[in-house]
């Protein structure tokens, strides 16, 4: 599947590392695998493993170790709010809770229409612009800083209506 769909992208990724070090390509390949559905399917794990000569279980443990890979489906848009100490000192915990309340979910849950998951995450290196979140979609991660619940809800409404990557 990946091989048929993204042959050039796979070649480009493999070329980033020395030819005898294909294993290094596993992380960018997992991002590629996640591009389809926002999470890494079992089939994709097997395919990535095959591309670089690993066991599928080894690839699976990498997916489990790194928080930006997902092994099960979530919302189309994952809103990852930083609630770590510096942001929490500037009201990020209340922001995350208010946002969830407005969406009718609890932290970590996905809205009924399947569009949005809200998660709490650790420091995103934007502590001076709290509250902030990153928006993870199937093919990328973008920052949204100096947020209010209002601005976040407007963004969500826009995404639900028009799609796009935020």
């Amino acid at each position: 599947m990946l091989r048929e769909k993204y042959p050039q992208e796979i070649e480009r990724i493999l070329a980033i590392y020395p030819p005898d070090q294909r294993r290094s390509a596993v992380m960018p390949l997992l991002y590629l695998a996640q591009r389809e559905s926002g999470y890494v399917t079992r089939q994709a794990m097997e395919e990535v493993a095959g591309l670089i000569g690993l066991e599928p279980t080894q690839v699976g443990s990498l997916v489990g170790f790194y928080t930006l890979y997902h092994d099960e489906p979530g919302g189309t848009y994952r809103i990852q709010v930083c609630t770590d100490l510096p942001c929490a000192l500037r009201g990020a915990e209340a922001f995350a809770e208010d946002l969830c309340r407005n969406l009718g979910i609890r932290l970590g849950e996905t809205t009924a229409d399947g569009s949005v998951t809200v998660e709490a995450v650790m420091c995103l290196a934007g502590c001076d612009r709290a509250p902030l979140f990153q928006l993870q979609t199937a093919d990328g991660i973008h920052y949204h800083e100096n947020q209010t619940v209002q601005s976040a809800l407007e963004l969500i409404e826009h995404l639900r209506r028009d799609g796009g990557r935020g």
Binding site: I16, P18, S24, D84, P86, M122, D128, G140, Y143
Partner: protein, 418 residues
């Protein structure tokens, strides 16, 4: 405001573009290095400048480079752009707004290390930034600052970007190398150090983004000039990431040795609430917590002085907390962080971070009974000196110093204390 050497983009609009960068000494340092100096001379110059690593430990950069195993090739350089310490957001600003100064620094380091391939390991969250860096690198290649026989010399260099995927431990240099090799980001036993066996088992230099961004101007303007900033033992300027209860949070580039008071009050505008400063964490979540006394506020922020005051400068991510904060809650936040980020490789840290968090929750539940505070302290103390990497130690220091230095917050029913 002192002269800025790193956040120069704030004074020089256009510095983020290649022509603008070239108009302000851009690539003159690299040119000087590869056209007029041997790698050993570059290392000597950086040693003479006294530049110390900005990733946390403050180890002298030139000295670290001189540890590379002689005669073993290929060698690699890896820029540590994992920036994940809570409270740290300086490398991101550098790479977003002054990317060529950073990348020129990578190239100078690679030349000094005689490496022909360098990686920039960006934390996965820096997705957009990593893609812009790739464009910046392509531009450098077209302009002849990278690639085969760069600048007409016989030196070849390629720099490539690698994106992590969310794991604080990958900022630790050996975990970072494991991750770059496509494995779980778990630290290696040391020795051997990366200078002997690093990436793919070859001699490797790992340096922080800010460290590397210092190199171009050290090359063009010289070691003596650089030593005109900062203190005798901590030369140069440093980017302080100021966060928490301050009116104007942000990055401030100041000479090393600037007192906390100046950063927090002159630049940061004091606390936003007007309340007194209760506690300061100078090195992000990994800090020994300092009380906001006059003595601490007057401490110069350099490696030696902050250590003498009972903490560490680390990555200089200064988290300020006013009198409204409860230290029990602070320790819960830091313990949640380390419990989440422990890589699980060694038992004292994997179990210890879990039990510390557990003990803090229990302490909250029991309204801070004397026994629970003692239990938490003993769990923390039991981890000290037993962990495989510094993360375990980092998780302990806020807990121990928080309990010992802010005793009023840990009396039974401490929440009800004025």
């Amino acid at each position: 405001m002192a002269e800025r050497l790193l956040l120069r983009h704030r004074d020089l609009p256009g510095l983020g573009e290649l022509p603008g960068y070239q108009a302000h000494e851009g690539f003159e340092g690299l040119r000087k290095a590869v056209m007029t100096m041997t790698p050993a001379q570059v290392i000597d110059l950086v040693k003479a400048s006294g530049l110390r690593g900005r990733g946390g430990a403050g180890f002298p950069t030139g000295v670290k480079w001189s540890f590379l195993s002689p005669g073993v090739f290929p060698r690699y350089v890896v820029a540590n752009a994992d920036e994940s310490e809570p409270g740290t957001f300086k490398d991101r600003e550098l790479m977003e707004h002054n990317p060529f100064q950073f990348l020129e620094g990578v190239a100078i380091c690679a030349y000094a290390a005689q490496a022909n391939l360098a990686y920039v390991y960006c934390r996965g969250e820096f997705w957009d930034l990593a893609h812009r860096l790739e464009e910046n690198l392509a531009e450098m290649g077209r302009a002849g600052f990278l690639g085969a026989r760069l600048l007409g010399t016989d030196y070849d260099l390629d720099i490539r970007v690698h994106l992590g995927a969310g794991a604080y431990i990958c900022g630790e240099e050996t975990a970072l190398l494991e991750s770059l090799e496509g494995r779980l980001g778990q630290p290696r036993l040391r020795p051997p150090f990366p200078a002997a066996k690093g990436l793919y088992g070859k001699p490797t230099v790992v340096n922080n983004v800010e460290t590397l961004a210092n190199l171009p101007l050290i090359l063009t303007r010289g070691a003596e000039w650089y030593r005109g900033f900062g203190t005798e033992k901590s030369p140069g300027t440093k980017i302080f990431s100021l966060s928490g209860h301050v009116a104007r949070p942000g990055n401030y580039e100041l000479p090393l040795g600037t007192p906390f008071r100046e950063l927090i009050f002159t630049y940061g505008g004091g606390t936003s609430s007007g309340l007194k400063v209760k506690a300061i964490m100078p090195a992000g979540a990994s800090s020994s917590i300092l009380p906001g006394t006059d003595e601490v506020l007057d401490t110069p922020m350099d490696y030696e002085s902050v250590a003498a005051a009972g903490s560490a400068l680390g990555s200089a991510s200064v988290i300020v907390m006013d009198e409204s904060v409860d230290l029990g809650w602070v320790l819960k936040k830091t313990s949640e962080f380390f419990n989440h980020e422990s890589c699980g490789k060694c038992t004292p840290c994997r179990e210890g971070t879990y039990w510390m968090l557990h003990a803090i929750e229990r302490l909250e539940h029991n309204r801070r009974s004397v026994g629970d505070v003692a239990l938490l302290r003993s769990v923390a103390a039991g981890m000290q000196g037993k962990c495989l990497c510094a993360l375990g130690e980092f998780s302990v220091v806020p807990v121990v110093t928080g309990i010992d230095r802010f005793q009023a917050d840990f009396r039974p029913d401490g929440r009800d204390e004025p």
